[in-house]
């Protein structure tokens, strides 16, 4: 199991503007986020010797960023062919790479023109090859259509309803109101949620995350070195990556997944908590992967914050709002802050744990859970200050 508890830390974070139309290349966005993370840590470009990223839709290879910002010797560069499931895994990988002696100071980034360039939510290549020959010909093509199928199953089994999904959307939007990075800051009410356009039943427009142009970067190094850097280190207490049996042939495929009311989270929960030496009760706040409202419910159940089937009631009554028992997605989440494929959740976790989150700071916190992924595989971390 994870032998690196609190041995590695996040020492720098960087991001770009989140927008619908960056007017810039993805490479320059990635470079800007990386330059900002290096400056945040008080380091120089020449201190960087490793990169980890993921590139399920558009991105740029790590070596191109290393080239643009002038890293003299990138000793490690890895681009995972992965989606949101990897947004925490790349950070865990950075720690493992450093532990292995392959690099010392590693930048993890995700960059995309997710709205003006390749729209992940807008459809896929319509040629139905490999596993998609059994899905796309029936008009089952987009991610909202994929996850709506999962959500319906939870409704069938447990009676989960629109008010519960709506409470997630409304709560996160309220958080985004206090976040100058967020793309959507206009208040919404439950009535606004209910009246938002039905896209693919049971999902309305406000169940679905944003599409974003932008980039985020996270700088990982040893805890020992991080303590000598500019910022207060945020320690990686534990983490896990994986899923269950029958994870499918790509990130859409769940034809063989046994239980669409539960996703990867229930399969990594034991590893996650054991690695951190903690449990759900030890978590002060969480940034949970919310490509859709419903994915929150599966992860809360899977990671043991509530019992299976009780995720719907759990999110009601202010429990997940600031001041509640478990404040979630304090920056607004992928639903309202923006969709940098989940790496923006790590940025927010670090800001909160440093006490730098300004008007949206949750007071007196020591731990923050981050998660990444919504379907058959994913990753999660416990971070602490």
């Amino acid at each position: 199991m994870y032998a690196l508890r609190n041995k590695y830390a996040i020492a720098g974070i960087g991001w770009t503007d989140f927008s619908k139309k960056s007017g810039r290349t993805v490479r320059s966005l990635a470079s800007q986020a990386c330059i900002n993370a290096i400056a945040d840590a008080g380091l120089k470009v020449s201190d960087i010797d490793g990169f980890v990223s993921f590139n399920f839709n558009d991105s740029v290879p790590a070596i191109s960023v290393a080239t643009e910002i002038g890293v003299p010797a990138a000793r490690y560069a890895n681009d995972f062919l992965s989606g949101g499931n990897a947004a925490n895994m790349i950070v865990l990988t950075a720690a493992a790479v450093i532990e292995a002696g392959l690099a010392e100071t590693v930048l993890c980034y995700r960059a995309m023109n997710g709205r003006s360039g390749f729209r992940l939510g807008g459809g896929r290549d319509l040629s139905a090859y490999n596993i998609t020959q059994f899905t796309a010909p029936f008009g089952w093509i987009t991610y909202p259509q994929a996850m709506a199928m999962w959500c319906r199953r939870h409704m069938i089994e447990y009676g989960t309803n629109a008010e519960q999904l709506g409470e997630i959307a409304v709560t996160f939007r309220k958080n985004a109101e206090k976040n100058e990075r967020a793309m959507q800051r206009d208040p919404i009410s439950m009535a606004d949620y209910m009246n938002s356009r039905m896209i693919v039943e049971p999902f309305r427009m406000l169940d679905i995350c944003l599409e974003t142009d932008g980039a985020c970067a996270v700088l990982v190094t040893s805890a020992e070195r991080a303590r000598d850097m500019k910022r207060k280190p945020v320690y990686i207490s534990g983490g896990a990556y994986g899923g269950g049996p029958d994870q499918g042939e790509d990130l859409f495929d769940a034809l063989r997944w046994p239980d669409h009311s539960h996703n990867y989270a229930k399969y990594i929960a034991d590893d996650l908590w054991r690695s951190a030496g903690m449990g759900p009760k030890d978590i002060d706040i969480a940034q949970i992967y919310d490509c859709f409202t419903y994915s929150i419910i599966m992860q809360l159940e899977g990671l043991g914050f509530c019992k299976e089937g009780e995720g719907g009631p759990f999110v009601q009554g202010g429990r997940i709002a600031p001041g509640g028992e478990l404040p979630l997605n304090t920056a607004g989440g992928l639903l309202s802050e923006g969709y940098i494929h989940g790496l923006n959740h790590v940025i927010e976790a670090v800001q909160q744990l440093r006490g730098e989150a300004g008007v949206r700071q949750v007071p007196d916190i020591e731990t923050c859970l981050t998660t990444a992924g919504a379907m058959t595989c994913g990753s999660a971390m416990v971070l602490r200050n």
Binding site: Q133, F134, V200
Partner: protein
């Protein structure tokens, strides 16, 4: 008029399935070694790793495991005339799941565990899609 919707790119593992559809049969694989029934097609059996298999005909009957109603067409130019349409995960009587459309019923009237049966819809000379209607 050309068929604008996604068409299966048939490959060496899936050709028997699509050939059978064209003949009005819904077929799934059964492992010749351990008997495990599986869909979608794979080369190896996930239970025993045997590459030996046979194609057996499904009864074509099953139940709705989950479903969605697509109201916003993506891409618009391809699906605008079809919305709302139903995509369902159907659990066949043989125990495997298949994704397909449910036709012949108002989308609002689809229910969980509803019995359905396969019908075949030729869309090109090569491709016939297995779709479902209430049984």
């Amino acid at each position: 008029m050309t068929y604008a919707k996604p068409l299966p790119v048939v490959d060496v593992e899936t050709r028997p399935f699509w050939d059978a559809c064209r003949e009005g049969k819904l077929k799934i694989q059964r492992c010749a070694n351990c008997g495990h029934k599986r869909f979608p097609p794979t080369f190896y059996c996930p239970k025993c790793n045997s590459p030996e298999h046979e194609w057996i005909e499904s009864s074509g009957h099953g139940r709705v495991f989950s479903w969605i109603v697509v109201r916003h067409p993506v891409p618009r130019e391809v699906y605008a005339a079809d919305v709302p349409y139903v995509v369902a995960l159907i659990e066949l009587d043989e125990g495997v799941r298949i994704a397909s459309n449910i036709v012949g019923i108002e989308p609002e009237k689809v229910t969980a565990n509803m019995p359905v049966r396969v019908i075949f819809k030729p869309v090109t000379p090569e491709i016939t899609l297995p779709i479902f209607e209430p049984a």
